[in-house]
């Protein structure tokens, strides 16, 4: 079976028509005065899923999370959790917990007391609290920091305390608002995998809000890409990357080259697209593009080959001039300027130490790609 990307998933309830939705946003709208933060949004999240809400700041992703936590009520529409309508339930009665972007650790309490806080609210017996706190401290490897106050911890340690505090109550859903935003790059990468392990271990449903696409791609089972209060696409990371359904999603995730043009003709699933300068491209998987439609052809830099001569077997090849070269070690990025002035970004993996066909600035060059290497976008 052919699959997008390299991962075949065994956990995929979203493909199962009988799977029961766990969290469901139904036509949810949230307005703050004149401003519409979330606009008629419908979204389904499944149990034990690691779900990411990805978008630029102000796209409504945090509002969505805060509505789930109960800090905001939807202006219209409803939110269901495990079949129960959450409207009117205050945050302190909801079976969800949140890990705050600022961590919101109580500065006057020790690590231990912070973790125990939620358990105390439930009226859990002291002995059970102590046991659970010890368990949580072990989970996040902070046993020897139990008696410290938040200001005596490093950023990474604080993040783990916040995590331990929010999972201590074993919530049905854990909400994470930019959980790694305050950490430096190296720590962030380590912590991503820790979070994934933790989610597996505890079997919880995670909903994470992030503006960092790499983070979302690494951790999430599915990603919802949001813009202006609406979901643009919900899909697995590989689908989002390889099969974006709109210009916005294609441009938002990773680097991409976009060629605007018109569909000249369509035969079965193959279209020919003509650019404004007359250049022609043949693409398989045409999607819903009809003949005569204005479309964009989107292709990732690593799927484009750069060579000094036109490859004999190439279906699609365009000629240009090397405009810029960036050598990044593991790969080299070429910027090739086509006849019509468009810059094409192409990256090639440096699998060999020496190149047979070295290109340099201002050389004439051909960019070529297979007919199935990109997607046709109508939106």
């Amino acid at each position: 079976m052919k699959s997008l990307g390299s991962i075949r998933r065994s956990f995929a309830p979203w493909n199962d028509p009988n799977a029961k939705p766990y969290i469901r946003f139904e036509n949810v709208t949230k307005r703050f005065g004149e401003f519409t933060a979330v606009n008629d949004l419908t979204l389904t999240i499944f149990e034990r899923e690691f779900f990411a809400l990805l978008g630029a700041s102000g796209c409504g992703k945090s509002t969505l999370l805060r509505m789930l936590a109960g800090f905001e009520e939807p202006t219209s529409g409803r939110i269901l959790l495990d079949g129960q309508d959450l409207r009117g339930i205050p945050p302190y009665r909801r079976p969800v917990n949140m890990m705050f972007q600022s961590y919101a650790l109580f500065p006057h309490m020790t690590v231990e007391k912070n973790i125990a806080f939620g358990l105390k609210q439930e009226g859990m017996p002291a002995a059970d609290i102590a046991r659970r706190v010890a368990e949580m401290l072990k989970l996040v490897k902070l046993e020897q920091f139990a008696k410290r106050k938040p200001h005596q911890l490093s950023g990474g340690q604080r993040q783990r305390v916040a995590l331990a505090r929010s999972v201590a109550k074993r919530p049905k859903v854990l909400l994470l608002d930019e959980p790694l935003g305050a950490l430096d790059k190296k720590l962030r990468e380590e912590t991503q995998f820790e979070l994934m392990d933790l989610q597996q271990e505890l079997g919880l449903t995670f909903v994470v809000v992030t503006h960092d696409q790499e983070e979302a791609m690494t951790m999430a089972d599915r990603i919802a890409i949001m813009d202006k209060g609406q979901v643009m696409q919900v899909a697995t990371p590989a689908e989002v990357y390889e099969a974006p359904t709109s210009r916005f999603v294609a441009g938002f995730v990773g680097n991409i080259n976009m060629f605007e043009g018109k569909v000249a003709d369509r035969q079965a699933n193959t279209v020919r697209i003509t650019g404004p300068s007359g250049a022609e491209i043949t693409v398989e998987n045409a999607g819903d593009a009809a003949a005569g439609a204005d479309v964009a052809f989107a292709i990732r830099p690593e799927k484009i080959r750069v060579s000094s001569k036109r490859p004999a077997d190439a279906v699609n090849a365009l000629q240009g001039e090397v405009y810029d070269i960036a050598y990044l070690g593991d790969m080299t990025v070429y910027h090739v300027r086509l006849g019509d002035g468009q810059i094409v970004r192409a990256s090639s993996l440096n699998a060999q130490r020496v190149t047979e066909d070295p290109l340099t600035w201002s050389d004439s060059a051909w960019v070529s790609f297979r007919p199935d290497a990109g997607v046709v976008l109508t939106r």
Partner: protein, 315 residues
């Protein structure tokens, strides 16, 4: 004492002229405060050990500096603790001290009770109107203290506005006697010192991260409990600063008990004033001041350390 200011850690490069200028910044205010703030206290202490005399100045020994060291030494022999003994013999003083401390403590508590909801409400107000509210709270503080106390006379006296309103609405049938009672003093202190309580409370509450409250609620804590477990403990530095700012000056308050408290109420600031201006007994009033200072030294040091700590954290 000039050498007190000589060793600095952060003398910037820039030549001897700048080094001297750097030090002047310390030396000038230092000397000023030594001469006009610290030395006067030593003099008060010295005079509290002197005898009352009918002369100008009305005490002996006067330490006439023209007599030199010899005069100083002979003067020392004449010093005595008689004035302090006198303070213990007349119960008036003891009662005045006790009632001052009690009145100040009660009014501090009342000011806290009145001020906290105001500060809390301000800190939760939309950010756009917070500066305006802050200005509105500070504005009365810029108008004369004396005038604000005076304004209450017209309100509280038997034929004053409060009684007129209460009589007209039928809540009471006889005018309330409030002016010239301790109640009037409480009202006066709460009113005059309210901004001193509200401002530190506001700044403590305002800088508190609201997501802490959300976190508490998220973890199952209802809003009222979240207030007692999170908000209040975190505002304690503000509570302490506010209470000290009210309590310390209130103990020695003169204008409020004098104008609103009448002759029947007892407070040490008034006693000192009368001892000085009416009885012209400088040594006894000095002794009164020394004891008052001793009572206040602990809260003052506490206040000073709280300030220094806040300053360290602001760094």
């Amino acid at each position: 004492m000039t050498d007190a200011a000589m060793s600095t850690t952060a003398v910037k490069a820039g030549g001897p002229v700048n080094a001297v200028l750097n030090r002047l910044v310390i030396i000038v205010p230092y000397l000023w405060l030594l001469f006009f703030f610290l030395v006067p206290f030593l003099i008060v202490f010295k005079i509290s050990l002197s005898q009352t005399a009918i002369a100008m100045p009305p005490y002996t020994p006067s330490f006439d500096l023209s007599e030199g060291i010899g005069g100083l030494l002979s003067g020392l022999k004449e010093l005595s603790f008689d004035n302090y003994v006198w303070l213990t013999q007349d119960p008036l003083y003891f009662n005045a001290y006790v009632s001052s401390v009690v009145i100040a403590a009660v009014s501090t508590l009342l000011t806290l009770l009145v001020g906290y909801p105001i500060a809390y409400g301000m800190a939760r107000a939309p950010t756009t109107i917070r500066p305006t509210l802050l200005m509105l709270v500070i504005l009365p503080f810029w108008t004369s203290f004396l005038i604000r106390v005076y304004a209450w006379i017209g309100i509280l006296k038997p034929e004053g506005l409060l009684n007129q309103v209460l009589l007209a609405t039928g809540i009471i049938s006889e005018p309330l006697i409030i002016l010239n009672t301790y109640t009037a003093i409480f009202i006066g202190i709460v009113y005059s010192y309210l901004p001193f309580m509200v401002l530190p409370l506001y700044s403590a509450l305002e800088k508190m991260d609201y997501s802490l409250i959300e976190a508490a609620e998220d973890l199952g804590c209802p809003p009222i409990m979240a207030f007692w477990k999170i908000t209040f403990p975190l505002s304690i530095p503000g509570v302490v600063a506010g209470c000290l700012l009210v309590f310390i000056p209130a103990v020695g308050e003169f204008v409020i008990p004098d104008l609103l408290g009448g002759s029947q109420t007892l407070m040490i600031g008034k006693t000192l004033w009368n001892e000085f201006f009416a009885n012209r007994d400088w040594p006894v009033s000095s002794a009164v001041a020394v004891i008052l200072l001793l009572i206040l030294i602990v809260p003052i040091v506490f206040f000073q350390q709280a300030q220094a700590k806040a300053q360290e954290q602001g760094r």
